[in-house]
Amino acid sequence: MSDFASLLTGFQTALTAYHLALMVGGVLLGILVGVLPGLGAPNGVSLLLPLTFSMEPVSGIILLSSMYWGALFGGSTTSILFNIPGEPSSVATTFDGYPMARAGRATEALATAFSAAGFGALVGVILVTMLANSIAGIALRFSSPEYFAVYLLAFCSFIGMGGGHPLKTAASLLIGLSLAAVGMDTVSGEMRLTFGSDQLVKGVTFLVAVIGLFGIGEILVTVEQGLKFDGIRTKIDLATVFRTMATMPRHWLALLRSTVIGCWMGITPGGPTAASFMSYGVARRFSRHPDRFGTGEPEGIVAPEAADHSAGVSALLPMLALGVPGSATAAVMMGGLMIWGLQPGPMLFVEQHDFVWGLIASMYLANIVAVVLVLATVPLFSAVLRVPFSIIGPLIVVVCLTGAYTISNSMVDVAMALGFGVIGYVFKKLDYPVAPLVLAMVLGDKAEDAFRQSMIMSNGSLGVFWSNGIAGSLTTLALAFALWPVLARVFAWASARRVLA
């Protein structure tokens, strides 16, 4: 079946009253978690996941992905109106969004952000539609060495492309891989790292880690900055919105460039946060008037927003086609797939045709729903942030802990979420990235299995990872990413010497 025909059957799945209602509900919940500091897309999706266990997988994924889109939009609202990024990926939007809003052009700033974001999302979905089948087709021929190479590439691209401290990124990844190993070994059945505890036999679930690291940890950091939010009050008038949207073609180059950056960072797991920063930096460097950046320049909003959303959307492509999520939120969703009993990866396209294309079709619809809803609800959700933090903060904590309990009705999970909260607080303060930890927890077992099976295939020779073109180039690329921080330093040193000489 052609991609287009598949998409049409997908729309038949997605365009039911029930699924549209799920999209509206998911987007609204998403905007809410996006707006609230301390609750973001990854842990919003984690909190909602246990409630979808009884749903049909396709309905569950539509609800969760809609929440993701809503959260991406909601995060931008608070960046612009409150100068508080509701999501790490909307930090770059504060640079020009907030100055523009403070200058009395809040509606313009919001409309610019949402249009750019909508454009980015649309390109992302089109990319997913066009590439998903062919990538899955290639991946169907993958065996263990290729899979391990893909996982390795996912891990290493965080180190080389994540933009953070390379050693700290590596530490975060390795901690995630260690935690993934806790519990029963899938090959030999031995108990690893359980230290005789029955509670640890089932392993440490990544959902607890997400809720603690992203939720509780974030709250502890947020309260440090004081408990009052001062926002700009605004009413959305539609005339300004449409006038602003009409000016968008003027930014075509910035839109296109940012979307390309976003899609690339989404597919190779650099994630939306790195994408938005990189895109902002590139836009400033190529701008004809870089000095205007930071003072309310529209391109300073267009660039991070388009990149953020195209990265968020295209992060689902490798998750579906390869089983490698491109962002922390995609990692949580992939965990959801496994809990529903679906095996993410190319077989999904063969066995769960309706699921895949229902999801892809819902991405078109839900993003349209999201643009409309986010514009309509700006006054409502900015009122939410005016509720005193002494009510909102503790409420978020209770929601997080309750969410940790519902994962498997276990109080141990609640205590672990608090522990991860403390780790998240320290990591956040010391600039250890937490997204790699989550990704490593989700992929750890699969990566280890792929490695062990490759070793059996090759009788213990590491050469198996270079035994064919695909595996070889992926492995080499992965190693290049891992060594990139060192290589970049050597290049810088060499060119500095040349200048001196």
């Binding site: 246990p50 409630l51 009884s54 050693l167 700290k168 590596a170 530490a171 390795l174 901690i175 891989l177 260690s178 190993a181 070994d185 090959v187 030999s188 031995e190 690893r192 790292l193 230290f195 509780i216 709250i219 502890l220 950091v221 309260v223 440090e224 900055q225 004081g226 408990l227 005193p388 002494s390 009510i391 903060g393 503790p394 409420l395 904590v397 209770v398 802990l401 309750t402 309990y405 519902t406 009705n409 109080m411 609640v414 205590a415 608090l418 909260g421 403390v422 607080y425 320290v426 303060k429 010391l430 250890y432 280890e448 490695f451 062990r452 099976q453 070793m455 059996i456 213990g460």
Partner: protein
């Protein structure tokens, strides 16, 4: 200035190295080489643990260069974080005995009274309203029962 960033950086790197050490040591109890079914159960974690130690040594050495005067957290900042963390820790400790609803109710009411400056009646009413919404969402709508404590049992709510 309460805690220096450098000490916390060094401490964290050391803690991660110890964690790596625990992972590597525990793996020695399994087959870290070639077993009956290919690489043994300890093969992967053992190497991960060793790598983790190596990486944290690197972070440790880099952290030595941080300016010794840089602050990690100021006194007021720490106080605000502690004001949220300590009651939350009590909440987590109390949940297994009191159940989700009663413990969360007490936590919310306390935080509103203590940090919002609302009177007890108003705080209690708000907290009770939130818990009523929770009950409706979890028990009735999604049919995901939360933990109950002795008070619910006495009232006959299951």
């Amino acid at each position: 200035m309460l805690a220096r960033r450098r000490s916390i950086e060094l401490g964290t790197a050391a803690a991660i190295a110890i964690f790596g050490g625990i992972v590597a040591t525990e793996s020695l109890g399994h087959d870290t080489g070639w077993g009956d079914t290919g690489p043994g159960a300890g093969y992967f974690p053992f190497r991960i643990g060793l790598l983790l130690i190596a990486v944290s040594v690197g972070v440790f050495i880099q952290s030595l260069r941080i300016d010794a005067d840089e602050s990690f957290v100021s006194g007021t900042e720490l106080n605000s974080s502690r004001a949220v963390f300590l009651p939350t820790a009590v909440l987590v400790a109390a949940m297994p005995w009191l159940g989700c609803y009663v413990a969360s109710f007490a936590y919310l009411a306390f935080m509103m009274r203590r940090h919002g400056g609302y009177g007890w009646p108003r705080s209690a009413a708000m907290a009770a309203a939130v818990m009523a919404v929770f009950f409706a969402v979890f028990e009735i709508w999604f049919q995901v029962p939360l933990a109950k404590g002795p008070i619910e049992t006495a009232l006959g709510i299951y």
